[in-house]
């Protein structure tokens, strides 16, 4: 069977497709990282801007989601380094979560809050694993760390979550 390559998209079509496919997932990733809806939207906007500017250089040797997630994580890190961010109260409580559009349980919110309370590096690994459904090698590529470091962070994160929630978390790395 011969593979037929589809028509090339213009950069405008390409970024529009990316935004349509990945905006929501990145928004959730950024919100859980930054604990703030407005900042998360800023980070997502910045992510796609950078992606648009780098479309020519993106050689598709990395998975598109991995590439966008890496840009998003870096945007979140940049925002979280600002002096304003450091000295703004970031206490994570359930009332920080946006009003849900579907029915949720207290357990759902407790899980989300506890993930948001994790130290930054552990949170990154857990979000990419559960939210972005990435494998350990993909997370390693996204965060530019070793696979062993990813496994270590996931183990530590699960231990903290187990302590907070009284539940074990399945892992397959």
């Amino acid at each position: 069977m011969q593979t037929v390559k589809g028509p090339d998209r213009t950069p405008e079509e390409e970024i529009t497709r990316m935004v349509n496919e990945h905006q929501l997932a990145l928004l959730r990733l950024c919100f859980t990282y930054l604990h703030d809806q407005d900042l998360a939207q800023d980070a997502v906007q910045e992510t796609f801007l950078k992606a648009y500017r780098s479309l020519q250089a993106f050689r598709h040797d990395a998975h598109e989601k991995t590439w966008l997630s890496r840009i998003a994580i870096n945007c979140c890190r940049d925002l979280s380094k600002s002096s304003w961010f450091k000295h703004t109260d970031r206490t994570v409580t359930p009332d920080m979560l946006p009003e849900p559009a579907v029915q949720t349980s207290q357990e759902d919110n407790t899980l989300t809050v506890e993930i948001m309370r994790l130290p930054k590096r552990l949170r990154e690994a857990i979000l990419l694993y559960y939210f972005e459904n990435m494998t350990t090698p993909e997370i390693a590529e996204t965060l530019r760390i070793t696979q062993q470091a990813v496994s270590d962070r996931l183990v530590r994160a699960r231990a903290k979550l187990r302590k907070a929630l009284g539940k074990d978390f399945e892992g397959d790395e």
């Binding site: 959730r28 906007q45 801007l49 002096s83 979560l97 989300t112 559960y130 399945e170």
Partner: protein, 316 residues
């Protein structure tokens, strides 16, 4: 009970189902790149009110200017670059504000605050606060105040030619104490200023910053030390710029020390474990929480003094 990956994904998705996509995001990005539209910053993100008293600049100086960063651990070993810091983010940019008057309000409130008062500025979308800080006007005053924190690493001697320029001590509240609201007022459109005090029996020192200057060589030496949480998985590496070298060295009284050198700046980072961790009550806008500190981290920077000279400041 084990939570399966799919269950966790679904729980997270439900919990955050209220986050809304921006239907015009792609259009704005394309238009912006064509110069047709200026990208907007959303209101909440530009309500910037925090004030940090000298520590951010000291940190930025210590971190080096521009250049791509590498990372070293406390043994001087280079580690995989986990924090991709691009040149645009090495220097913390000035905070953007929605209006200059809000920024002005913050500075005015800080200037009005009593020593060691916690000042909290709240708007509809965010809460920011200035640390409980007391300025010191001399090394003698600094030394007397630091007697309440006998374990804190302190400079033992000051290099010839350098004189005290300014200093500040940051205070926390020991676990068991409380933050008492002493004053609250509206200071602008939707902006509230609150002042909190702590019973001095529960005062504890979280850190300090000292600045010394040598006018002959036009150099500043900045010494800052701060307690770090025991379980601090974010701070076990040090970023160094591409033009800097890092070497683990031994300094009496410290558990780990790293000397970082370049042509333009010399830095010393030191770590000392606190024998008995200290628990403090951290102020939160909705709920205070307990933080336990297990280490002291100290940084000294100078444009002129070598790292050997800097090390001698803390040596016994």
């Amino acid at each position: 009970m084990t939570l399966r990956k799919e269950e966790a994904q679904e729980a997270l998705a439900r919990s955050l189902s209220g986050l809304q996509e921006d239907p015009r995001l792609a259009q704005r990005i394309i238009a912006s790149e064509k110069g047709e539209m200026k990208m907007k910053k959303l209101p909440g993100a530009v309500l910037v009110l925090a004030v940090i008293l000298g520590i951010t600049m000291a940190t930025a100086l210590a971190a080096g200017v521009a250049g791509i960063w590498r990372s070293v651990n406390w043994f001087g070993e280079e580690v995989p670059n986990e924090d991709e810091i691009t040149p645009s983010s090495t220097m913390v940019p000035p905070a953007e504000t929605t209006a200059a008057d809000i920024d002005q309000l913050v500075h005015e409130s800080i200037n009005r605050a009593e020593a060691r008062e916690l000042v909290v500025i709240a708007t509809e979308n965010s809460v920011s606060y200035a640390a409980r800080v007391q300025a010191v006007s001399s090394m003698e005053e600094f030394t007397v105040l630091m007697e309440m924190a006998p374990g804190f690493p302190l400079p033992k001697q000051i290099p010839d030619g350098y004189t005290f320029s300014s200093g500040s001590i940051e205070f926390g509240c020991l676990s068991g104490g409380e933050y008492t609201l002493t004053c609250q007022k509206a200071v602008g459109d939707g902006v509230t200023e609150s002042h909190y005090a702590v019973d001095e029996a529960y005062d504890c020192i979280l850190g300090y910053t000292l600045r010394f200057t040598d006018e002959n060589r036009q150099d500043s030496m900045i010494v800052s030390a701060h307690m770090q949480p025991s379980d601090n998985s974010n701070d076990d590496i040090i970023g160094i710029a591409d033009n800097q070298t890092a070497e683990a060295i031994r300094i009496d009284g410290m558990d780990n020390s790293i000397a970082i050198d370049s042509d333009t700046i010399h830095l010393l980072f030191m770590r000392k474990i606190i024998a008995e961790p200290i628990s403090t009550l951290v102020f939160g806008s909705s709920e205070n929480w307990v933080e336990t500190y297990g280490e002291y981290h100290t940084r000294i920077s100078s444009g002129t003094l070598s790292t050997n000279d800097l090390a001698s400041i803390f040596s016994r």
